[in-house]
Amino acid sequence: MGSIQKPKVLLIGSITHAKAEWDALKDVADPIIVKSTNRSDFLAEAKSGTFDGVVAAFRSFTSMSITGQFDTEILSSIPTLKFLCQNGAGYDPINISDCTSAGVQVCNVPIIADDATSDTAIFLMLGALRMFNPCMATLRTGEFKGPAFKLGHDPRRKVLGILGMGGIGREVARKAGAFGMKVQYYNRKELSEEMAGGAKYVGFDELLGTSDILSLNLPLNANTRHIVSTAEFAKMKQDVVVVNTARGPVMDEAALVEALDSGKVRSAGLDVYEEEPKIHPGLIKNPNVILLPHVGTLTYETQKAMEVFTIENVRRAVEEGRLKGLVPEQAHMTKA
């Protein structure tokens, strides 16, 4: 062939919908797929030289079982890596400071996951507020409404508190507005009036103390682990409804169970858990809570769009040496 060797790009995990787009990378790169299925095999595969020359990697959600936490040890095994493209909105399995130290830029998928995730949050919010879970369960056992039937509440005029006003939080706010809810939020920093869509910026304690419904929409990192725990439940309104579509560990699951059992928290709607796929038995036992197994973005349309976006970033990394959607912690890395 005699031409310049194409840069290598690495698929860690799997691609389901955009296989054609991944294969099309062949015109600018040499795509390699990781064969290993666990961390020690991955490190061995790297040591054998298979990943030499890899400049960009596509990291799928399921690749956690392959590499575990994406940290210095993993990064050191692919010394030529410059660009890590995370196929997801959340990127907590990636140690960003380790990446920055190694000179590796990281992007996630902003915006595209906003609709599917906020739709899930609204579904859980309605389900919890309206107390649908107990009677949906009794219907399936042949009792229709059943003796455990409880009256729910309407969302109109209730105060929704959003913890984390990123793309997903803002979409939850907008959709909740269509149901007549009043929205307030706490965020690392206050947003412009326009961006906040009229939602009121409040302090963290005020959010806890005055919200009828609390929706967790913040990323998981060292600062946000267990940001909602026993002390926070104590500050919340009696009969509060809690919804979590962010990451399980932002909330202390055992403390939530206690707050549900005591009646402080009337109901909860959850898509994420501290130790997925394990769920606190106190939640399984509780008919009042509505539980989904982390399906926040699991639609054909969103999964395809996410894969296409991430593959485009891999292509952009190879062709232009830059990424779209760099994680906020690395904003400084693109400054000349």
Partner: protein
């Protein structure tokens, strides 16, 4: 002059103060009867001869049975007003009431939000395929083995509303927030202002071009089984159907067959043909979302509905007219 008598059929759960306040303008009585047979006997015994206004709940059908020609014929002739606590009034034969000079009211508007909310919950639940996941989780299988097929986003989908009354129009606004475009079929097209820009289409076009079909029409002789085998055949393959109207507007058995064939990808139902009985083909199907007629069951909406119905009673007693007569009697 003696106070008029008002008959309570069913229970007041929330608006006790407002109900009791009626005692300053009327005698409030309740039946002793606990079955239709007993109720008919009690009527014939003359116990209700002084009654001029009745307030009835959906559940009171357990006492009186349907308010049909047989029952209306033995009601005291002095009973001139029947205030029904509910939006749907298919339990009442309005034609028979008109014949016997009884005016009927229902409760519109107060039900719109709560019903549209459960409707939207069911659209999301069915389109996203959430029920299979919820059941897998509760059975200890996390996402399920194998995990179910991926769901679909509402954004960009066409929502077809059959029946653009208060509930349908309320639903349209909420569905718009999820990026859905609405088209509708209705007895007659609405003004641009009322329809909010939704496209008016024929019944057949609604069936053929909607990605999600929502049933929001009243149950009456014309609408019983308006959705049946023939209609399923006209729908888009993979359509999602949601029903918060009345079970009998849709042929439940035909729906089960359409689900088995794959013509209907999923459905979300709050109502069933023979409540509390649910077709076993639905109960056994994890891919459908089923709620046991919870449409207006919130503290706030139940309170609003009772108050609205009590206002109808008060209006009948004080002014001799109902506040919200049913459509069929509006011109009387």
């Amino acid at each position: 002059m003696a106070k008029p008598t008002v008959l309570l059929l069913g229970e007041i759960d929330h608006a006790h103060k407002e109900w009791n306040a009626l005692s300053s303008i009327a005698e409030l009585i309740e039946p002793k009867a606990r079955s239709r047979e007993e109720f008919i006997q009690e009527c014939k015994s003359g116990a209700f001869d002084k009654v001029s206004v009745a307030y009835r709940t959906f559940q009171s059908v357990a006492i009186t049975g349907l308010i049909d020609e047989e029952l209306v014929a033995i009601l005291p002739t002095g009973l001139k007003f029947l205030a029904h606590n509910g939006a749907g009034y298919d339990q009442i034969d309005v034609h028979a009431c008109t014949k016997h000079d009884i005016r009927v009211s229902n409760v519109p508007t107060a039900v719109d939000d709560a019903t549209a909310d459960v409707n939207m919950f069911l659209i999301l639940g069915a389109l996203r395929g959430f029920n299979t996941s919820m059941m897998a989780l509760r059975n200890g299988h996390w996402k399920g083995s194998p995990p179910p097929p991926l769901g679909h986003d509402p954004q960009g989908k066409v929502l077809g509303i059959l029946g653009m009354g208060g509930i349908g129009r309320n639903l349209m606004k909420k569905a718009a927030a999820f990026g859905m475009t609405t088209q509708y079929y209705n007895r007659s097209p609405l003004s641009e202002e009322l329809s909010g820009g939704a496209k008016y289409v024929t019944f057949d076009e609604l069936l053929a071009t909607s990605d999600v079909l929502s049933l929001n029409l009243p149950l009456n002789k014309q609408t019983r089984h308006i959705i049946s085998t023939k209609e399923f055949e006209k729908m888009k393959k993979g359509v999602v159907i949601v029903n918060t109207a009345r079970g009998a507007v849709m042929d439940e058995d035909a729906l089960v067959k359409a689900l088995e064939k794959g013509t209907v990808w999923s459905c979300g139902l709050d109502v069933f043909e023979e409540e509390p009985k649910v077709h076993p083909g639905l109960v056994a199907n994890p891919n459908v979302m089923l709620v046991p007629h919870m449409g207006t069951w919130t503290v706030e909406t139940q309170t609003k509905m009772e108050n609205w119905c009590i206002d109808n009673v008060r209006s009948a007693v004080e002014k001799g007219v109902l506040k919200s007569p049913v459509g069929e009697q509006k011109d009387l």
